[in-house]
Symmetry: D2
Subunit: 162 residues, 4 copies
């Protein structure tokens, strides 16, 4: 089985809690995929790298260009990107210039650190896609795994659907 590269870009999935005083907000921690893959103990080879750590509303065109360049440079053709849930489709659109690799964008509605997080299921869906597919830009959220231009989002509830 081919190697998979996991790319951290920030988003809810990686939000952690600062350990100090007067801490209001969450902060980004190490990639949640590290903890998920440790539980999985997978039979495939993998690498986890960080592109940037941003809430997805703050990801700009420059970040997306950087991400495209980063993926172009990878010799590996199976890519899973963890990403904030608010601009997955925008990032997918920007990545659609890459036509010879499989890229699955996933994330979580609640941080992977939460006991009731959806992170592990979502990353599982993305790994399933990497087993079955060779190319294309996909999004995996809310139990739906589909080509990025086929998936829709309910802006009221935040849920992705077909």
């Amino acid at each position: 089985m081919e190697k998979i590269v996991f790319i951290q870009t920030g988003g809810t999935i990686d939000k952690d809690y600062p350990h100090t005083t007067k801490g209001w907000a969450f902060e980004f921690g190490e990639p949640a995929t590290n903890r998920i893959l440790e539980k999985l103990n997978p039979s495939f080879e993998y690498e986890v790298i960080t592109a940037f750590q941003k809430d997805s509303l703050e990801i700009n065109d420059e970040d997306r260009s950087k991400l495209v360049a980063l993926i172009h440079e990878l010799s590996c053709s199976k890519i899973i990107i963890t990403h904030g849930t608010d601009t997955m489709k925008e990032t997918a659109e920007a990545l659609s210039v890459i036509q010879d690799k499989l890229i699955v964008i996933t994330g979580a509605m609640r941080p992977e650190r939460f006991t009731n997080s959806d992170a592990a299921v979502n990353v599982g869906m993305a790994i399933g896609a990497a087993s079955l597919l060779d190319k294309g830009i996909y999004i995996a959220m809310h139990g739906v795994l589909a080509k990025h231009d086929m998936i829709k989002r309910n802006m009221e509830t935040g849920k992705y659907y077909l």
Copy 2:
């Protein structure tokens, strides 16, 4: 998106702990998929049913025939079976008489009740398969999702691989 039916058959994924005195062993609890799907809050319709609750070494020919009959009766064509890890391939073989449905067999190396369980990732892989495939008998374990007769198991480590 089509409805998915999850079938519980027992196995490590569903092992729970008895709450009484002098309890040595684990016992089977309600389907772990219920708890995983609650976290996922999926956009697809689903149903969780129980075929039986057995350690997979104890599943016999009669059980497997019962499972085949149960699936034949379902109007739904996307099936995810949670199953003990020791005889997934035997059950898949028995199910291969069903040619018009997608069946993904998954499970876990550690009970879903465990904080370090692989259950959610594995069920995620199976759900990913249900998004992409229409028919065939698949196994999803250790980050590998493949046709049941393509996947192998290392009998020393218990790991499935391609």
Copy 3:
């Protein structure tokens, strides 16, 4: 054993994650003590009530007066307050006018929803105090359970100590 009343006032322990779009910050959820007590399955009678839901830096004199009045009205004499970690000592000071009850203030450095939270251990310490003590204002954090005017806090690390 006497009944224990748990009072929610907000703070890190009860921070949860909003399920909608464009959510940056956390929000306060139902009292974390409910989930902890469900796991404990305790032999004592208890009630969980909410005084207010605030980050402890935002608790003001009026809130503290309200809390004093609320506790005066309770017929129960064993009180455990979950509270933000930044002003536990200020609240304890305000509560020290109550001389005939046991009050233990506790909380968490990471939300109870986190897999690596200290919430359950801290609430356990407070329950231990309720088993052993009859009156006084105590703080339970970082493995230290002591009279509120005996416990100190390292403002660099946020750690309570003796």
Copy 4:
């Protein structure tokens, strides 16, 4: 604050799951207190040692004598023992020859590895006792922390109570 020594003796709290094939039963893993104390990040000094790893129905007179000898040798006077739930009172009785130390026996109804375990709350109660008490043999379970000869157990439900 004085140092606390945590002694592992086995029991439900430390039950883990074997990672290999054909594994029916659980096995004893490293002390659960290590994981609980990592979450707590305590302000007290501590050490975690293993006396033995047994289901408490299998602990015999020789084991209990060994435990008494082990504790006599410790320079530390605050001891927390994690123990199976079925013979806590028998072990407490055997330890009652030690009159100059505080010993709290605790454990769990579900393994600490379980997401719905009571382990952290129980260990929290024991740590609370170590903050407040200097000597005596105590049991901490089901939200009750009391001298070992005061606590009772409902043999039907397994619950300790006063």
